[in-house]
Subunit: 463 residues, 2 copies
Amino acid sequence: MSNSSKEIPYKIYLEENEMPTQWYNVRADMKKKPAPLLNPGTLKPMTFADLQPVFCDELVKQELDDTHAYIDIPQEIREFYKMYRPSPLVRAYCLEKKLGTPAKIYYKFEGNNTSGSHKLNSAIAQAYYAKKQGLKGVTTETGAGQWGTALSMACSYFDLDCKVYMVKVSYEQKPFRREVMRTYGASVTPSPSEHTAVGRKILQEHPGTSGSLGCAISEAVETATSLEGYRYVLGSVLSQVLLHQTVIGLEAKAALEKYNIQPDIIIGCAGGGSNLGGLISPFMGEKLRGEKDYKFIAVEPASCPSLTRGKYAYDFCDTGKVCPLAKMYTLGSGFIPSANHAGGLRYHGMSSILSELYDQGLMEARSVEQTEVFEAAEQFARVEGILPAPESSHAIRVAIDEALKCKETGEEKTIVFGLTGTGYFDMTAYQKYNDGDMSDYIPTDADLQVGFDGIPKFPGNEF
Amino acid sequence: MSNSSKEIPYKIYLEENEMPTQWYNVRADMKKKPAPLLNPGTLKPMTFADLQPVFCDELVKQELDDTHAYIDIPQEIREFYKMYRPSPLVRAYCLEKKLGTPAKIYYKFEGNNTSGSHKLNSAIAQAYYAKKQGLKGVTTETGAGQWGTALSMACSYFDLDCKVYMVKVSYEQKPFRREVMRTYGASVTPSPSEHTAVGRKILQEHPGTSGSLGCAISEAVETATSLEGYRYVLGSVLSQVLLHQTVIGLEAKAALEKYNIQPDIIIGCAGGGSNLGGLISPFMGEKLRGEKDYKFIAVEPASCPSLTRGKYAYDFCDTGKVCPLAKMYTLGSGFIPSANHAGGLRYHGMSSILSELYDQGLMEARSVEQTEVFEAAEQFARVEGILPAPESSHAIRVAIDEALKCKETGEEKTIVFGLTGTGYFDMTAYQKYNDGDMSDYIPTDADLQVGFDGIPKFPGNEF
């Protein structure tokens, strides 16, 4: 479907003056809007006042705004973006050749920054608004450490204090990510810790616990709300985060248009949904407005299949149940993916924007198994030269599958996927794959039922 | 001294059609040439026939060629370069602001590829010539693993077998680099090993040894020369490697000229010299031809000060004394830097091209201590967003020092330095720095004398 007159380079870089100056808010173009966040006490929509003690004022506004299609990117954020953006849109010539496919494959590569992923796009925005509000610092949680690293970099740039609660098992097993955060001046605390009431309580009840993301969130929120001049920030799921991540899709779209390339299929991996949402939003806008059509595919691990096997219902965003209720495809806030699952994309729910788009049939979803994901990662690394993050490799898997379908049918489809980051801090998982010790895990219906049983029940929340 | 009409972006990217099509051989413009390699048995210059059993034919030609100024980059290599090049020339606006200097600072960033450094520029060339010669594979040694990673990537691309001997202590302590190499299909053997006669001999004499680079070189050379269809390849020091690395300097020069920027000072870290030589060669050519003048600064660790405290003499290139003799600034092939030294730049000698240029007074050298290097690394990371490799941070240190001198004098000098790579696999050293456990070490004259005593003595090799 692509119709290019110019020769297409390996990497399309926009000029700095072609970079987006506004984020795109896809909610504005949705006829049926995503369901609002609910106050878990009153079951009423969360208001500005409800959210203000936890999040920065400007971010609360963005979270609640489903009417303005374009939101200005402040000049200071645009300056920071210029240090590592525009990111390249890469034509995967070598992968195409290796596969022998008539398909044309492109990927938007977000890994060329020290955080190693797209997370920095929202981290810098959230740090900026915290600074502008005159805050002293922010708190957050991190699992593997990608988000924590991105936030540390952003806070260091704006001279903000950054307190990261890192799940204890990761703190001990992944010391390198921890040291990157410390190099950027963040304080990194293994969670559960003695710093918070909730941490002390958990340590008393489970003295040898290695922690969980749910517990780390609870500690970060408690710290933010109890310290003067602090707020809590989150790296995915929230609509504000998807908004910031649209810089990915806007750049990709501008780069494609520059070379008159029309994608047929757009693919992204989906954990909480921020990368996928950011990539597809501008294209989805065209689809919603009836201007163009695209096939969108969300790819999730078979071991954590929120879209493909979850329920569409109001649920807690965190295991600790301190956050608001969001309507989303969910496996239940008590769902914990098998320990055999490597890498991220372990979140039990999904962005409420993407959940609603999926529910309306505007986007497809596919689940893939772990070993086939690493097979794709290895194949990609060997021909394209980039060692992909396990998360990103979910998208690679489906991009390769779609390209191989084209080989069978002879169709010259144009495939675009998001390569969210690099796997340099994931070599333990690669080693498992290299050693032949990696296995697959698909939860049974009974396994999933345990999570579903924890989804709150109230009138209007039938599933 | 810069005089730019256009506004200078944060990152200057050349177009793919502006990338160099030829490497530049600085030896052609040197009136007094670097001294030839000598056969250690006969003390006569090494001939094509002497080198042919060890290296690929085309690479031997390049090694011996000191007359042709430009050598075509084969199309296949240029295609590979397009996957990760052109690399950006970055204006360090944020660092300048932080330092409050009137100096203008630029860096050529070579870290945006999975090998994490500039090493890939030569690895792909060496793999290409091996493939073209119809070889089955290549062998090499690696210490920390940067070169081994680059070579694995290159061999995977050309479907060549790649045998890497990795110093045993690194093999065990740096499993992540090892796994990257394995992901690219290389076989990685801890050295000393039972695979070679020299390995077996060393293991018999020193059963518990953790290996050394010298021993790994000997094993790699033995394997290459005893297997049908294999050759040995090396990642630095040799003139062929400097030649391939001139792609760095040629791109940097083209980017600077595009914006009418005239550098005053060009800085690079120096271990074996390939990155520094590659960066400065095209500029040095102008200086040699009397067209322009620049100040060049080679930066080395105070713990391994080959240029600043070494002897200019013929010496062995490897600890095992199996390689030819090269005339270079050397600490003696028996010199081993203190264990307290982090990162690379541990080589006892220096490229014979750079040694000769230094000896002629065309280049300066400076040695810096470890903790001040990591201070510079941290400062740079926090404002420029890139976590630099410890090696690259030597250049950052001196770039910052020069910029601070400009702050004192008010001079608006233009400084260009080479940022050779990222520090993602060096977090153990960063942790030491973060914990305040890093210390400096400067060898005494007596320490150095031990190494000097091992430099071979023969007529014409007085020092």
